[in-house]
Symmetry: C4
């Protein structure tokens, strides 16, 4: 894909110039979603992904109706602007719809409700990730996908990453290795 | 592989022209299976895959004799022609045989019984996927493989994707997060 | 690596010619193991792999002292010379030793005891795979690794592939889908 | 990245020469950690990784406060200098901090306490791996990552690799296959 294959739209999302190359592609149905990030969050670029780890991240807690993905105390969280290691990283999850353009309202709601997020997950669908520049959108997309994978893989080991370490309070030794066990002194 | 390395067959599957390049390959034992998609479904191209996710998708429910793979409410379903997000995607599973050509009868049965499908899974073997054009065959193959992987991975988390979300009906809050729990008001 | 970087050995494994390129590498400690396949099985090439799926395949049943990897009724078994779909594919597992050259005796025992095999697994180590030609060694290595992965992945779903399908004998319908259930008529 | 893009520092970690290329990158916050390996272990190169298998390896036993990763009797252990197949490979795990430079004290403690290790894991963060040369750092990084993956994957099958094989003491036969079972004679 070259620059000449792209649509130019104004800040309301109206097409100002169709692809100069004359290619027959149509404007993405995601256009109003991309526009939301430009309008509400001053994004420089938006990335949309169907990566399986993003979809699985929306499914793990679906039966309880959990409305956000959450993790904390993972180094990679520092890759998301405004977040430190001890912060909770929260990514809102919106419900999917029959057509992508119908996601616009709830995507905008999520952007308003979670002012620190640079991503919105769509249940059973994928994720929208943006950044102040295309470079930041790309690095943040890498970090978010890593964190989705971390939580999905940890869940296979019955480990929770939505809360910090649940360390047992007292230490004992097993095979010469210091360990902790509840109730020990 | 070049065009000159291929066999040309007529609409009955008879070889009209062997490879012009003179290469010594023999006609694939899958030929009558490929022909079935051309004859019954007017396919423009057929792809055969042994991908592990396709094989695992046929094994998950094998003990109950389930005769089709099924999933619903996954965005990627929209990548299969004629399917929307809320549709059930059904892919028939036929039993494998000692020789590939012996699959022909049951493959054709499956094509007749599942008129909306563009794929037939073969238990413990793989999958045949077709499309109206080679481009559609390729994109549909990508979507089907993604969906097989999604179901296989979700099963590792004891999640079912053959039915829609089983949301608990009432909401409560845990750690400030809205959640749903059965029996709560 | 070029041809000039290799050692030439005679049929007893003695070095006839060191690397012509003058490179300083030493003869692989696997040499007597490779020689065993040339001497006992008339191999044209031998491949040694540490692939994790091979190592995991030797661990799944280790506590019971199982001495071979086994699978059946998987299409990919047909990729191993002399095997059909309904055959048991058996790959002997030998115990690892402190030094690779010490594996020679048990590798040769395994080759004698399993005349149909083209591979010997080494517990907690990897696998030796050979073929009549280098092309066959390569395709068989691909098939064996696929089969190791299939069994390892199936085990995550509590599915056994060392025996054929354990189909429940009677059929019933669930959600309009034909299924089988024990004790039903 | 070219040589001219790098910082040159003295043996106390002071910048002797900024990047000659004039690129605007800043000195890595890991610099004092890399320096620790040069100063205390005479390393020729240090590699820092956020690979998910390294992070998961620090999480598996976190609730018990286990302070090292441990595995034994895996062929790949021989890839770490000074280790044989039957040795315990121990990699200390230090707790992560808000800033990378704050890890320096505990990293140095770990290097002193585990004189045989060429790696230090950082909980929920990743791993530092070094070698006498950059080549050895690279091969050891490959081996360590393989071993982290092996333990993480084995854990999915409820297999422990931190202790050697727990073979049942008596043998019996099942389907003609020699097996062992406790209590059998």
């Amino acid at each position: 894909m070259q620059a000449d294959d792209m649509f130019v739209v104004d800040d309301q999302g109206n097409v100002v110039e169709p692809p100069r190359s004359g290619c027959s592609s149509k404007l993405s149905e995601c256009a109003p979603l991309f526009m939301s990030a430009y309008q509400l969050r001053n994004a420089g670029a938006v990335i949309h992904s169907h990566a399986l780890e993003a979809v699985l991240a929306t499914l793990l807690d679906e039966e309880y109706g959990t409305m956000e993905f959450r993790c904390t105390q993972l180094e990679m969280i520092k890759g998301i602007k405004g977040h430190g290691y001890y912060d909770d990283l929260e990514v809102p999850i919106i419900e999917n719809t029959a057509r992508e353009s119908e996601l616009t309202w709830s995507l905008r709601q999520a952007m308003e409700a979670f002012p620190k997020t640079y991503a919105v997950l769509v249940r059973r669908h994928g994720v929208y990730i943006w950044g102040d520049t295309w470079q930041q959108a790309k690095t943040q997309a890498e970090c978010y996908h890593y964190l989705f994978s971390a939580v999905v893989e940890a869940t296979k080991h019955d480990l929770r990453l939505d809360i910090g370490p649940q360390r047992e309070p007292f230490r004992f030794f097993r095979n010469g290795v210091p360990r902790y066990r509840p109730g020990d002194a």
